[in-house]
Amino acid sequence: MAHRSKYPPALILRTLAAWAVTLLLFFPLGWLVLTAFKTELQAISVPPLLFFTPTFDNFIEVQDRSDYLLYAKNSVITSVLSTLLGLALAVPAAYSMAFFKSKRTKDILMWMLSTKMMPAVGALVPIYVLAQQSGLLDTQLGLIIIFTLSNLPIMVWMLYSNFKEIPHEILEAARMDGATLWQEYYRVLLPLSIGGLASTGLLCLVLSWNEAFWSLNLSSAKAGTLATLIASYSSPEGLFWAKLSAASLMAIAPIVVFGWFSQKQLVQGLTFGAVK
């Protein structure tokens, strides 16, 4: 590298193009971050301000006005617990289908995925009625159950395509040596599939954190997640973009930063066995 003093023109061109596209696509998000640190007047100034003295007032006001921490707590609890519950259901199912393939395995997989294709709104009225009658409306438990079930097909699918990459022989060898099911799982399968488990869990966490349909319709002041908090900022037409941006930034920052750190891991499992 060091001895090459000049970049070839093709590389320069490619670099410029890549950066241009990236900055264009990232711009809305970058603008959101900038606006969060502006005063309300700066936020709507014409022409738009790029340089200004940042203020933190918006963040403080969002917390005062709408109890950000309560919603954040709900988001963390519902997404983490639904991910764990989902893994507990999906791992055995995926294991069973990947290593004890039967004639119906493919049908079951397709059926699972097709339940995910039914628009959630199709089940809105019944689920709303059920939640109301069982007292699960606007509770964390209600959201956890629903997030788990709506992510389950994707989780099973991801884990299945991950488990399928593991050679059967290894598991059979362990079984021959007299390993119990738990040992077989804990000592052999888990170390081999930890990447797949991690990426499945990560995706599920992201999906639950960002889930908006069920949380908008089934939760409000008590169990509302950050997605509902943000939606409540949409109604007034008054121009308070700086506060909206601050609230938005507070809602997405945890999961975006989390996503950045785990992207390598996440990507591996996201391919659904498409990359060979």
Binding site: P28, A90, S96, L124, V125, L149, I154, N210, A231
Partner: protein, 286 residues
């Protein structure tokens, strides 16, 4: 034991999904044939096919079906084409590739409500929005996006959210390409277009199928973006099936009609699922 165990492990997931599907479905079928308006609790009884007739003859219905398909088709087309383009662009190393990757995937982690509000206000506002400023800079009249092009606006928002996902999948798929084969083709003087046509595109086929499948699942039920921005309007201009059913249920309080609509959504989803299974099912067998 040998046969029992796999079933035992499979049962919790299958049973809970079955409940999750069957119970609401049966209730929906039941609600769809009775008179059930939350605002008129005294009006009850068997309605026959009235609710279906009402939902189907509602002029909004056709609009909603068309909008659903337009949204689905456009977003899939945009994200697949642009995703492949970007993935090819950043496939080989260049300065700052790691940062570019991070920035590119970021919108995928943004929740739909934030995405929607961000675009509605800061980008698309006809007076103070960034797009309006850009338009004015070039001497054009700013566009009132959400009023004049509501469906297009929703398509832009949803595409922006899903493009990173498509890009990521294509990027990962390209990494697994046979480098020696590529080198050989380059040595033999294959032009970039030839490489694209005979090496890159065939290699990406499988991941295109996956992207289409996953997006199909999520895009059939786009809701939050419409709910927080246009509210389905103006008129029905940006109403899709999901939002139309929501409108019947929670804005018109007519659970009966909403349930009839929901059954249509199920039919629509099943058509899409059949299409998906034909396309992706082959890939399952390997």
């Amino acid at each position: 034991m040998k046969r029992l165990l796999p079933r035992l492990l499979l049962t919790p997931a299958v049973a809970s999904l079955l409940l999750w599907m069957i119970v609401p479905l049966v209730m929906t079928i039941y609600f769809s044939v009775i008179r059930y308006n939350l605002m008129q609790p005294d009006v009850t009884g068997f309605a026959g096919l009235e609710n279906f007739e009402y939902f189907l003859t509602d002029p909004s219905f056709t609009v909603a079906v068309v909008n659903t398909l337009l949204l689905l088709g456009s977003v899939i087309l945009i994200t697949v084409l642009m995703g492949i383009g970007i993935a090819l662009l950043i496939d080989d190393p260049f300065p700052g590739r790691g940062i570019v990757r991070l920035l590119l995937i970021s919108p995928f982690f943004v929740m739909p409500t934030v995405n929607a509000l961000l675009w509605k206000h800061m980008m698309m506002n006809p007076i103070y929005g960034v797009l309006a400023q850009v338009w004015m800079f070039f001497g054009a009249t700013p566009v009132d996006w959400l009023t004049d092009f509501p469906l297009l606006s929703v398509i832009i928002m949803v595409s922006w959210q899903w493009l990173p996902f498509a890009t990521l999948i294509f990027m990962t798929s390209l990494q697994s390409m046979n480098r020696e084969q590529l080198e050989a083709a380059r040595m033999d003087g294959a032009t970039y277009l030839q490489q694209l046509r005979y090496l890159y595109i065939p290699h990406l086929g499988r991941s295109v199928a996956v992207v289409v499948m996953i997006e199909l699942i999520f895009l059939l039920s786009v809701f939050a973006e419409i709910y927080t921005t246009t509210g389905g309007g103006p008129g029905d201009a940006s109403t899709n099936m999901a939002f139309l059913i929501f409108k019947q249920a929670l804005l018109n309080f007519d659970a009966g009609v909403a349930s009839a609509g929901a059954l249509f959504a199920v039919v629509l989803a099943n058509i899409a699922a059949a299409f998906m299974i034909r396309m992706v099912g082959k890939n399952l067998d390997k």
